[in-house]
């Protein structure tokens, strides 16, 4: 069974001169921990938006755990997927507990089971003492960690993270990466996007590098690096395939 499978995805936004996706295809097995990498404007966010059902593809098909992403399956896919957007998608003037309780309620959870799960995750992410603090008073790392908890409250089978460690300190980053490894070890499929390629190399067993709306290379991280003797790390491989030209 595949956790994600996209076939020949096409998408051009209204008014855009260039397509965002032009025949994107890749797939990952269930339980994989995959890095979806690419320069700015490569089509990562559009791909994630199509996978989440927020944006409709012009052509092609996206499947999550073999369920086609369409109106009929959208709700089922939302139930098994957790999304950590790049933005801190929380109410800044609510406390962490209030935020998580609200999002838990929206997932249909309530009462003691919800409270226990919130407490468990707050502890896991080192936020147990900050639960009753308003989110806007949090540091960047605390916000990122709370942002992740909000996406895993309903215990999804697939977790998609869009630059989850952007702008956080080393300690918070280490905690987040450690969590992702452990979470993946529990059998949860993880798709992770980042511009921090050293980080991606550390935690992703497999990567897909996309550029200009197409897959340029996909494979196991270690094998890709080994395939190019001139490349010392994932960043070299990335530059090898996407070039050195600056993207806007």
């Amino acid at each position: 069974m595949t956790s994600i499978s996209v076939q020949d995805l096409h998408k051009t936004y209204k008014g855009a001169l260039e397509p965002s996706l032009s025949g994107l295809s890749f797939s990952f097995p269930k339980g994989a921990m995959v890095g979806l990498l690419g320069p700015n404007g490569a089509g990562k966010t559009t791909t994630i938006s199509i996978l989440c059902g927020l944006v409709k593809a012009d052509g092609g098909q996206a499947r999550i755990f073999d369920l086609p992403q369409d109106a009929a399956n959208r709700e089922a896919i939302k139930r098994i997927t957790g999304i950590v957007p790049q933005q801190i998608a929380l109410f800044p003037h609510l406390t962490a507990v209030e935020n998580l309780t609200y999002f838990g309620n929206l997932y249909g959870m309530k009462g003691k089971p919800l409270r226990s799960r919130i407490d468990e995750y707050l502890q896991m992410f080192g936020l147990e003492k900050a639960g009753n603090k308003e989110v806007h008073r949090f540091s960047g790392g605390m916000k990122r960690r709370t942002n992740i908890i909000a996406a895993i409250l309903h215990q999804p089978q697939l977790l998609i993270l869009d630059e989850p460690t952007a702008g956080v300190d080393v300690q918070s980053r280490s905690m987040i990466l450690q969590f992702l490894r452990e979470y993946n070890n529990q059998g949860v499929s993880i798709v992770y996007t980042s511009h921090l390629l050293e980080e991606a190399q550390t935690i992703c067993r497999e990567v897909v590098i996309i550029d200009e709306g197409k897959v340029v290379v996909q494979g196991e991280t270690a094998a890709l690096i080994a395939r190019h003797p001139e490349c010392r790390n994932l960043e070299d491989v990335f530059l090898h395939y996407t070039g050195h030209a600056v993207r806007d």
């Binding site: 927020l54 089922a76 933005q87 998608a89 800044p92 003037h93 609200y102 999002f103």
Partner: protein, 428 residues
């Protein structure tokens, strides 16, 4: 249901966290209606209710001058000022004072006015007597030109004010002339064949005028005074200002990504929207009743009339909910269409001012030109005000306000549909 209740709780917590916003949300409307009811009190009073100082220059020094002075004072509407510093007011002095705006009105009774009125009355009586075969004996002057009592107004006086005062003075002069005429007739008839002791009452008003209620109400007359217009009108205006916090709330949720997260969670977003709407409708209803309390308890302490409520409290609640629903839907529409809080704030605030101005909130729709009345009747604020007036002034009930509340609800649904279409288009 859990989504709806959770959203109401979330909105409540967010409102509680913003203490200043919470205070402004409830305090500013109360200040607004108090100020508006007070400053619009004078224009709303009938001119007959107000008392004016009236400069009187009496060049006649006869009975007319005395009658006019006594008559003006008797009405209770005028305070006659005919001297200053112990000296009689001169015509030039009076005109200067009125021209400067120190006094609003001045009347100048011309020399010989009494003689002219008496002479005219005598002429009529003599004529009648002659036709009845009674010898005409009352003295008649030789001058045939009629004299005028001159009225001068402060140049800044409004046309309506002049017209009302003019009419009052004209009625009064007619009354004086009629009294004198009747007195002469009585005098002439008494001479003919009646004893001195006979009072001979002549009653002119055989048919009078009496205002009656049009509705089935047991309540006594409710006048559309400043409080009766301003409290409901500005309450509706203030309720519509909920557009600003709602639109701000929507845009913030879009900007901080929480809207995105809500959309990523399974289940209908409509339940979340319904929770949000329900919360803000409740806020509007609480605002409405607080403002009504100001009309009942606070404004009378400031010398204004007490707000009189209609008899159907259920109808009033229904109208408050309908207005709150429309205002909330408008807020959601503004919050969906505009991308930044600044855009929403500017459009929201100005559009409400325009809708209120044309909808009869500032001045009653009835005194606007016909084409503005037509446009005004398209404003949801005018539907709300009409419905409130139906309850408070016309004592109508739930059945009678169905038309206006129906229009408000339909308007809310249409705005929500437009917001939905805009959001769908944005997502695609």
């Amino acid at each position: 249901m859990l989504r709806l209740l959770a959203t109401i709780r979330k909105e409540w917590l967010l409102l509680l966290r913003d203490r200043t916003g919470l205070t402004l949300l409830f305090a500013m409307p109360l200040v607004l209606i108090t100020v508006m009811a007070m400053i619009e009190d004078a224009p709303f009073r009938d001119y007959q209710e107000l008392k004016f100082d009236i400069l009187t220059v009496d060049n006649d020094h006869g009975r007319l001058g005395r009658y006019i002075r006594e008559g003006l004072e008797y009405t209770g509407q005028f305070e006659v000022v005919d001297s200053m510093n112990g000296k009689p007011v001169t015509q030039q002095q009076a005109l200067d004072l009125v021209n400067k705006g120190d006094y609003k009105i001045c009347i100048v009774i011309p020399k010989g006015a009494t003689g002219a009125i008496v002479s005219n009355a005598n002429r009529i009586v003599n004529d009648i007597s002659k036709r009845m075969g009674i010898p005409a004996t009352l003295p008649v002057g030789t001058k045939k030109d009629s004299l005028n009592v001159a009225v001068y107004f402060d140049p800044a006086s409004k046309k309506a004010f002049k017209s009302a005062i003019h009419q009052a003075l004209d009625n009064f002069l007619t009354q004086v002339e009629t009294d004198l005429l009747l007195e002469r007739i009585k005098q002439q008839l008494r001479k003919k064949d009646m004893p001195e002791t006979d009072t001979m009452e002549i009653r002119l008003k055989a048919v009078g005028l009496q205002e009656q209620l049009t509705g089935p109400s047991k309540q006594i007359d409710v006048i559309s005074n400043s409080v009766q217009h301003n409290v409901p009108a500005w309450s509706i205006f203030a309720m519509f200002f909920i557009v600003i916090p709602i639109a701000g709330n929507m845009i913030r949720e879009r900007e901080d990504g929480s809207l995105l997260r809500m959309k990523l969670i399974p289940g209908s977003y409509l339940a979340i929207l319904a929770g949000k709407m329900l919360f803000f409708v409740c806020i509007c209803v609480v605002q409405f009743y607080l403002m009504i309390q100001v009309g009942i308890h606070l404004l009378p302490l400031l010398g204004l009339p007490k707000l009189v409520l209609g008899q159907s409290h259920a109808a009033a609640l229904m109208v408050a909910i309908s207005i709150g629903l429309t205002a909330t839907a408008y807020g959601i529409l503004v919050g969906t269409i505009f991308k930044t809080p600044n855009q929403a704030l500017n459009f929201g605030a100005i559009s409400i001012v325009i809708l209120s101005a044309i909808g009869g909130i500032w001045i009653p729709l009835e005194i606007m030109p016909p084409h503005m009345q037509f446009i005004g009747r398209l404003s949801p604020l005018s539907w709300g005000l009409d419905a409130i007036n139906d309850i408070y002034l016309r004592n109508m009930g739930v059945v009678h306000i169905g038309g206006n509340t129906g229009k408000l609800v339909i308007c809310a649904v249409v705005m929500l549909c437009i917001a939905g279409a805009v959001e769908k288009r944005r997502m695609s």
